[in-house]
């Protein structure tokens, strides 16, 4: 590994100042499960590495406030998956956090790192999209709230600006009953990113939100507000046209080592139908 200066700021303001001064040569370190690999293989060569884990205002945790959950960016997947508030209000996010890598990875991998790394296969990206999350960023110009759908650009690239870091993810607690699920296809459990990730959320008003990843340069959100998909009584033929429209933005790369485009597109439909069934069942069970 090449060497670098390691800094451990104690306030967000200090971290932002160092990040802004360093520009492209400075890099934020959270759990390191992406960054340390890149430092070692030389695909990231920062001269300054800024560790976020000793910043008092960035302590990991989940809190409920003003009708929303705020998850600190440094919260690790193990804790996101186990959090009672996340499990109650956002089951698909808890499910997604619980399948990231292995126990060892989940004990380090943070929610903030997962979104900032912006892998098209990031497991938490799709639940955050269906739950309409907001990314809270702190930078030289102050605080910015970015809708998660406006955050991802392509692998490794987000709309964060120079000097900005993510402090938290906010999730509005749904005002109506909802059901949600997260599913994925992997080659091997515990050791690989998924070849398809998909989350779905249905609500009592009949709105269905799908998000899927690993089938294009960034995760995609698609919304059906006709009420058709959320209604289990609608016959399969009537749904299939709408489902096709939902998946129209999938454009898997032919160069991927994980799976062919044809396989991914086929699996997207299988997983979509499966997740939708679970979400509808959950919604029905919850409103009993």
């Amino acid at each position: 590994m090449h060497t670098f200066a390691y800094v451990r700021p104690t306030t967000v303001a200090e971290a932002v100042a160092i990040l802004d001064a360093g520009g492209r040569d400075a890099r934020v370190l959270a759990g390191g499960t992406d960054l340390v690999i890149r430092l070692r293989d030389g695909s990231a060569t920062p001269t300054t590495v800024i560790d976020l884990k000793r910043i008092a205002d960035l302590r990991p945790g989940v809190r409920e406030e003003g009708g929303r959950l705020t998850i600190s960016a440094t919260t690790v997947m193990t804790d996101v998956a186990a959090d009672p508030l996340v499990r109650r209000h956002f089951p698909a996010l808890a499910e997604a956090a619980a399948v990231v890598g292995s126990v060892q990875i989940r004990n380090r991998a943070t929610l903030g790192g997962n979104v900032c790394n912006a892998s098209p296969a990031a497991d938490t990206a799709t639940p955050l999209l269906v739950f309409d999350a907001t990314v809270v960023a702190e930078g030289p110009g102050g605080t910015r709230r970015i809708a998660i759908d406006d955050f991802f650009v392509r692998s490794g690239v987000t709309t964060l600006q120079r000097g900005e870091l993510v402090t938290a993810i906010e999730l509005p607690i749904p005002a109506v009953a909802t059901g949600s699920a997260h599913v994925r296809r992997t080659r091997r459990r515990g050791h690989d990113l998924a070849s398809v990730t998909l989350s779905v959320r249905v609500d009592a008003l009949g709105v269905t939100r799908f998000a899927y990843g690993s089938v294009g340069p960034r995760p995609v959100l698609a919304v059906d507000d006709t009420g058709v998909l959320a209604d289990p009584a609608v016959p399969a033929e009537a749904r299939s046209a709408i489902l096709e429209r939902m998946f129209a933005d999938a454009s898997p790369s032919p160069r991927s080592m994980r799976a062919s485009p044809a396989y991914r597109l086929a699996m997207l439909r299988v997983l979509g139908a499966r997740a939708l069934r679970s979400a509808i069942e959950q919604l029905a069970a919850g409103s009993d």
Partner: protein, 159 residues
């Protein structure tokens, strides 16, 4: 040469003060500076689990943790499992069940299993498989490893 950092860690119950360069991993420091060679260097990308150690009660792949990040932490390596010269029940069960073939992955498997049992003293087979999913065994001793964890859990009940 990069500036080094002074860190204080507790390793297997002993306080240690170390000078570490920022780009050395916890695995480097355990093996090369502290001569604790139980944790193995293998894939270096967090996939095989051979470098698993416990930091503040949680398993990590020590190849993905910078040593300087561990400042102030309590670390347990496989060398810390045996107490007063006698093997930990989990180590004994691995021997009894023939779970160790070549042995290379075993320190990591032991640490993952140790942390699993600490949080869940009576895991199901599925929970053992999930708890140890981050530890590869190229000899394919997964059945024996699972049996060893089950046997340790059962023995824990008897004692």
């Amino acid at each position: 040469m990069a500036e080094t950092h002074r860190i204080e860690v507790t390793v297997n119950g002993l306080p240690r003060m170390l000078e570490v360069p920022p780009h050395h991993t916890l695995l480097d420091v355990l093996r090369d500076d502290l001569r604790l060679t139980g944790a193995k260097e293998c894939c270096l990308v967090g996939e095989c689990g051979a470098c698993t150690v416990i930091v503040d009660g949680r398993t990590v792949d020590s190849c993905l943790v910078l040593a300087v990040e561990a400042d102030g932490c309590e670390i347990t390596t496989v060398e810390g499992l045996a107490q007063d010269g006698s093997l930990d029940p989990l180590q004994r069960a691995f021997l009894d069940e023939g779970a160790a073939q070549c042995g290379f992955c075993i320190p990591g498997q032991l640490m993952a299993a140790h942390a699993l049992l600490a949080g869940n003293p009576h895991p199901t087979v599925a929970e053992i498989q999930e708890g140890l999913a981050g530890n590869l065994c190229r000899c394919g001793s997964y059945l024996q490893i699972t049996d060893a964890v089950l046997a340790t859990a059962a023995e824990g009940t008897r004692r």
